[in-house]
Amino acid sequence: MKFKRILGGIFLFASVSLIAVAAQQSSAPVKKNSAAKPAAHEQSEGERVFQQNCSRCHAAPEGFSPRISGTIARHMRVRASLSQHDEQALLRFLNP
């Protein structure tokens, strides 16, 4: 019986979440990575790489030294199986 109540809670949670997602897709802007500075085409390409790969597992760190941006991009290339092109785009996004 208790477990049925929990299941009811799950469906309620899922319903509210999906409604919120649907409402948000129509109105809210995409969040900018606070660790990265923007710039035209490469920014959108690099941001796409970041959002489709890195942020699948974790949030963006709030800030870091530009001296390690290449190391971060290399690490993500291995962890997320990025191509060399995507690694370069990500590097420009992290350190424009």
């Binding site: 208790k2 477990f3 929990i6 809670g9 799950i10 949670f13 899922a14 979440s17 919120a20 997602v21 409402a23 948000q24 897709q25 109105s27 809210a28 802007p29 995409v30 969040k31 606070s34 489709q52 699948r56 597992c57 974790h58 949030a59 760190p61 709030e62 870091f64 030294s65 530009p66 001296r67 390690i68 941006s69 290449g70 190391t71 971060i72 290399r74 690490h75 290339r77 291995v78 962890r79 199986s81 990025l82 191509s83 060399q84 590097l91 350190n95």
Partner: protein, 357 residues
């Protein structure tokens, strides 16, 4: 089962292994020649303080998980992660007071060689790529709950690490889809520095970027003792332009099977993700385990178990998170309430000043 609760087996690999292996990593880093000013080696990781109250007993767990990554030339990366923790738990048997134990170990130490756009060769002590939790979600600065899933012990050969080689990469990458793979072979060793079981296996995942949908299958086989097979599947969905994430895994082992489904959400409707409201992150996880026989050698509960985890995290500025959760666990032995709170800080900085890029 706390995510970083040391098992008796793992406790044997303490201090000396971690210190010697980390020393080896530092030697490699110190002798490396850096390609550019952006390639300074980094130290990242997380530090946290967790508390967990299970059935009225509260335990405390301060923990640090440092990670070091160092590129060598244009195609090589050396990376390593370690765990240092002190566990405080109440004395059992009606005694008052607390006992404590410490645990220091290297989680992994591997060298990555980027051979081609589709192939990276990994050598050393690596995390076994079975499903997603072990090698993608286990760091404390990533997980939404301080506990790992109940089924996290399946398919990772007890300690989660393999010693040997791994091939991984992007087999196919198109605009509409991509396919990733990882294949590993681990040797058996009882060396105190690098304990591992002999086994082989891998994972393949399909990712659809338009739908933000990832579907993967995993398989591995233990090649010593009873040759057990493990099967896994995962589905992740993260709708575009939202901060909603749905992750799930199913695992089947020789003696047990189970699944977990986790959903988390942050609203952007009240000033964005960095507003005080947007920093709240409700999380929900449902999990079930099923025993196939009574040989409980895999770390899963000894009887069929259902558990619901209700979490509320808060993402503070400066890479700090507060994790809170309440869990209700149902099993034939007894039902329990589990309350957890924790504070996690993520750090990320260069190992030294280096040249200005």
């Amino acid at each position: 089962m706390p995510m970083f609760q040391p098992t008796h087996e793992v406790k044997t690999r303490i201090a000396s292994r971690g210190i010697r292996s980390l020393g080896f990593a530092l030697i490699v880093i110190a002798t490396a020649h850096w390609g550019s000013a952006q390639d300074t080696p980094l130290i990242s990781g997380g530090g946290g303080f967790f508390s967990s109250t299970n059935g009225g007993n509260t335990s405390y767990l301060p923990i640090i998980e440092p990670l070091i990554a160092a590129p060598i030339g244009p195609h090589i990366l050396v990376e390593s992660r370690a765990t240092l923790l002190e566990s405080f738990s109440p004395n059992g048997g009606g005694q008052t007071g607390y006992n404590h134990s410490h645990f220091i170990a290297l989680t992994y130490l591997q060298g990555d060689v980027i051979v081609s756009p589709h192939l990276t060769v990994v050598a050393g002590d690596y995390l076994i790529p079975f499903n997603t939790f072990n090698d993608r979600l286990s760091p404390i600065w990533i997980g939404n709950f301080q506990d790992g899933p109940l089924i996290s012990g399946l398919g990772i050969f007890s300690i989660g690490e393999g010693l040997g080689g791994m091939l991984r990469g992007n087999a196919i990458q198109r605009k509409k889809y991509s396919i990733d793979y990882a294949y590993f072979y681990s040797a058996s060793t009882i060396n105190q520095q690098f304990q591992a079981d002999r086994g082989t296996g891998g994972r393949a995942s399909l990712y659809l970027p338009d739908q933000r949908l990832e579907i993967g299958l995993s398989y591995d086989r233990l090649l010593q003792g009873v040759h057990e097979n493990f099967y896994g599947a995962h589905v992740w969905w993260e709708p575009k332009d939202t901060a909603f994430r749905l992750r799930s895994e199913f695992s089947r082992g020789h003696h047990a099977q189970g699944y977990w489904v986790e959903a988390d959400y942050r609203t952007q409707a009240f000033g964005g993700l960095d507003s005080w409201v947007g920093r709240f992150e409700p999380v929900f996880r449902m999990q079930q385990t099923f025993r196939r026989d009574t040989v409980a050698s895999d770390g899963l509960p000894k009887v069929n178990t259902q558990r619901a985890d209700f979490g509320l995290d808060y993402n503070l500025p400066h890479n700090t998170r507060i994790l809170t959760s309440y869990s209700r666990q149902f099993s034939s032995t007894r039902d329990t309430n589990i309350w957890e709170t924790g504070l996690v800080y993520r750090f990320l900085f260069p190992t030294w000043k280096g040249k200005q890029p």
